[in-house]
Point group: D2
Chain length 255, copies 4
C-alpha cells in the first residue's frame, strides 16, 4: 500500500512467454508461465498492498498497450530468446516511463533485453554456462531493503552460471554477489537510479530450473518491487527548463 | 606518453564547428574554432605525450572515418545546435569504441549529444540560462587526477548557467560542483566507466564566452584526456563467452 | 510505524543544549531548545508512527543511559561548542549501536562531533562563514525518500555558510547540494551505510537562525529519520565468524 | 617516477614480522620476511620509479619514526597477531598522514589493524576458514589501473578463506571479487579515498601460503602502490577555514 496515496501498488509482470509454449519441461515447471510464478511471489509477500497483473509478448500490443503501461507503478521484465521481437517503439515507451518514475525489475536473461541495455548504455555481456551449477547468493549490503528476510547465503541447488566480467555500469548499490559451483562470481543483485525511476537487476531465474518457486528468491522479487516503487503519482520526465535569475525566490513567485 | 607502449596518446578533438561559421562573435572568440582551442589546451599540457588532431561535423564522414576513429585513444566531443545531424551509424561506432576502451571527454552542451545520452541511458536534461553568470567550479574530490593543478574554486567570470536537476546516472566519481551567480548548482565534473572505456563530463565551455582560453579550464581539459586514456592497445568490446567448468584451471589450459 | 513489528519507531533527539542556556537569542528562537524543535518536526510528520523523546548533554549519563540508547531505533545528534565534553565511552556505545543497526541523523555543526568523525574516519573539516548567507538546498537525487515532498530548491533566507572542501568519504548517496550567497557550495545531504546502520548527514541548522522552524527543513528531518530506521529489531554487530566448509548447506544444518 | 617531481616514489613496506620469528614454516616460506617479499614485488614492477624500504614492528619506534613516516609517499601494511601492540599514537600519526595525502595499501589480515578500522569507521569483521581453499580473484572493474596486467581470474591454489559479510563501507571502487573452494565470496580489491589520501585494501596474502610469491598477486601489489601514490608533495590535512565573502575573487586576492 502506498502510504502517500492509500492505493495499492500497480504491478505488471511482463514475461516473454515463449519457452513455456515450445518446451514441455518449462511448461511443466511453470504451469502458469514463469510470469505466473513471479506474479504469485509478489502477491504472496505484498498482499493487499499490490495489485499484480501479467502480460506476455504474444498478447495484443505485446502486452503493454498504453492502458496497461501508463497505469503501471512497477514493471518486472523477463525475456530470453525473443529480445529482438520486442518493438523498438515499445522499448522507447517503457524507457520514458522508467525515467518518469516507474520502477523496473529486470530478471536473469533480461540482462540482454532492449530495455535494460538501453538504460545501462553498455553491452551487458557476461560469461555463462548452463550445467546446473549450485548458485549461492551472498548479501553484501545487509541493511538494504532488497535483502530483507533472506538467509546469507541463499542456496539455489541448480542454476545457470552467469559470471564476470558483467558489462554494466558500476551499480549505485551492490546488494548481492553470487558464486557458482565452478568458482565463477557474479554481481547478482544491483540497483540503478535512472531519471526519476529505480531499476533493480536480479539474476537468479533460468527457465530450466524451478528458481521462481524458491522461497528466498520469491522474497527478493517482492522486496525488489517494493523498493523500486515510486512514491504516489509518477513525477514525469526530468525536463529541460529555462530559468530566469531568481526564479525560485518567494518574491519572484509572488509577482 | 603511454608508458606501456612508448607511443604518444592519439587524441581526436571533435567539434561541431557550426557556430564558428554563422556567428561572427564566436569566430572572433575562437579563430581556430572551439575545437582548435581545445586541441591547443591539450597540446599545451600533454606536450610530446599526445598527438592531437581535430575533426568537425562538416568534414568528410563527419570527421570520423574509420581511419581516424579506429586510431583514436581519446576522443573529445563538443556539439550544440547540430546534435541531430550526427549520423546514427557514427554514434554506434563511437559507442562501440568507447566500450572497447577509448576514452571520451564530453564537453558542455554535448550533454545532449547522441553519444552521451546513448552512454548514460537518461535524458541528460538540465536547467539553463544564458546571461553571463559567474561560474565557480569547486573541487569536491581533491585527490582526483582530473582536479590536479587547479585552484579551488576555478573562477570563470562569465558563463552560461547549467543547473540541477541534471538527469544523469549518479557519477562513479564526482570531481567538481559548480555554482552560478543566480544561486544554481551543477555537477560539473563527473566520471563514468562504461565497458572498458572511461568517460568524463566537464560542463564549462559555452560558445558565447572565451572559456576554453581560461588557463584552469585548459588544465582540466588536459587532465581529463590523460585520465580517460586507455593503457596501451584497446582491450576490445566485453564479450559474451561460454565457459566450461574449470576453464581457468592451469590443467585445463594445458590440455 | 514499523510494519515488521507493528510498533512505533523509537526516536531519540539528542541536543547539546548549551547555546540555549547561555545565549538569549537562541533561547528566544528555540524556547523548547533546538532539540525540542527537531523533535516537534519529527512528530509533526511521522505522527503515530514514531515515539520521540529528547535528551541533552547535561542530563544524567549525558542523556543516553543504557535504558535510553538501547531502546533507540533512530538517534538524531546536534552539537557544536561542547563536542569534547561528550564521554569517549558514550561515543563508543553509540558507535557500536549504529553498527548494530540503529539509524543516526547528524545535523549541522555535528559534522565535528566525536561520533560522526569516528564513523567517517576523516577530519570532517570544511569552510565556514557566519554572516547570514541565503542557503539554497538543491536536490540532485529526486527519487530518494529523503527528498520527498520538498521543493527544488529549498530556500533558507539566512544560514551559516558551510563550504567545500568538506572532508568526508564520498557519500553512498548524494541527495542535496547547497549553494550560498557568497557562491560557495556544500554537499548538504548525504547518506552512508556503516555496519548494519544507516547514517544521514544534513547540514542546515545553525543556532543563530530559525532553521528548524522552516517547513521544508522539518520535512527533511522527518524523512531522514524514516529512511534511516532499521527494519524491526536491530540485527546486532557484524560478527567475526569461523565457517567450516559447507556450513550453509542444508545437510550441514541438519547434521 | 613521479612526473611532477622527477623523483622516485618513496615506498615503505611495513610488516608485523612476528610469524616469521615464531613459525619455522613462515620463515622458510619467506626467508626475507613477508615484508621482504612485498617489497621485492614492488621493486620488480616499479623499478627505478620507486625507492622501497621495509620496516617491522620490532624496529625502533615500531619501524615508523618521523624520519621514515614523514618521507613516505605510499605505505603498505601487513599485520595479524599483534595489532594491539601497535601504539595508538603511531596509529594517529599514520592516520593523519593518510588524510594529508599519503597512499596506504592494506593487506590481508590487516583488515583488523588499528589504522584500517580507524579509517573505515566500522568493525571490518568477516567470515574466515584456514583450510587451503583455492581462491579465484575476479576483476569486476577491468579498466581500473589496479587490475592492469593480470588474468581474469587470478588463480591462487591455496589461501585462507575470507568471506562476506565483510563489514566495510561500500568501497568507492570495487576492483576484485574473490570466490573460494567452499563457495564463499569476498570483496577482495577495494579502493577508498579518505581526506587527500587514497587507500587500497587487497585481501590475498596469508602467512601460511606463498601468496606473495605469486606473479599476479605481485603485479597487483605494485599496481596498488602506483595507484595510491600522491602527485608530488603531499597537500596536507584538509583544513577548517574561515572564508570572508568573495575571498576567491581576483580583486580580493589583489587587495
Amino acid at each position: 500500500m502506498d502510504p502517500s496515496t492509500a492505493r495499492p501498488l500497480q504491478v505488471t509482470v511482463w514475461g516473454e512467454g515463449r519457452h513455456e509454449q515450445t518446451e514441455p519441461g518449462v511448461a511443466r515447471r511453470y504451469p502458469d508461465g514463469m510470469h505466473g510464478a513471479v506474479a504469485d511471489a509478489i502477491r504472496q509477500h505484498l498482499g493487499e498492498g499490490a495489485r499484480v497483473r501479467t502480460a506476455v509478448l504474444d498478447d495484443p500490443d505485446q502486452g503493454l498497450p498504453a492502458s496497461v503501461l501508463d497505469t503501471t507503478d512497477v514493471l518486472t521484465w523477463w525475456g530470453h530468446c525473443a529480445h529482438d521481437a520486442v518493438d523498438d517503439a515499445l522499448v522507447e515507451r517503457v524507457h520514458a516511463r522508467v525515467l518518469a518514475g516507474m520502477g523496473l525489475v529486470v530478471l536473469h536473461s533480461a540482462h540482454h533485453s532492449k530495455i535494460f541495455t538501453r538504460l545501462m548504455g553498455t553491452t551487458c555481456n557476461l560469461l555463462w554456462r548452463n550445467e546446473g551449477d549450485r548458485e549461492l547468493v551472498w548479501t553484501v549490503d545487509p541493511s538494504h531493503p532488497i535483502a530483507a528476510g533472506v538467509p546469507n547465503p541463499i542456496v539455489i541447488p541448480e542454476q545457470e552460471m552467469y559470471g564476470e566480467y558483467f558489462d554494466i555500469p558500476a551499480p549505485d548499490e551492490l546488494v548481492f554477489v553470487s558464486s557458482f559451483t565452478g568458482g565463477e562470481v557474479f554481481r547478482s543483485g544491483c540497483t540503478f537510479r535512472r531519471g526519476h525511476g529505480k531499476v533493480v537487476y536480479f539474476s537468479p531465474g533460468d527457465q530450466d530450473y524451478p528458481v521462481y518457486h524458491h522461497p528466498d528468491v520469491r522474497r527478493v522479487l517482492a522486496n525488489s518491487v517494493a523498493w523500486s516503487a515510486p512514491r504516489g503519482e509518477l513525477p514525469g520526465l526530468p525536463p529541460v527548463d529555462f530559468a530566469a535569475t531568481g526564479w525560485f525566490e518567494p518574491r519572484a513567485l509572488l509577482e
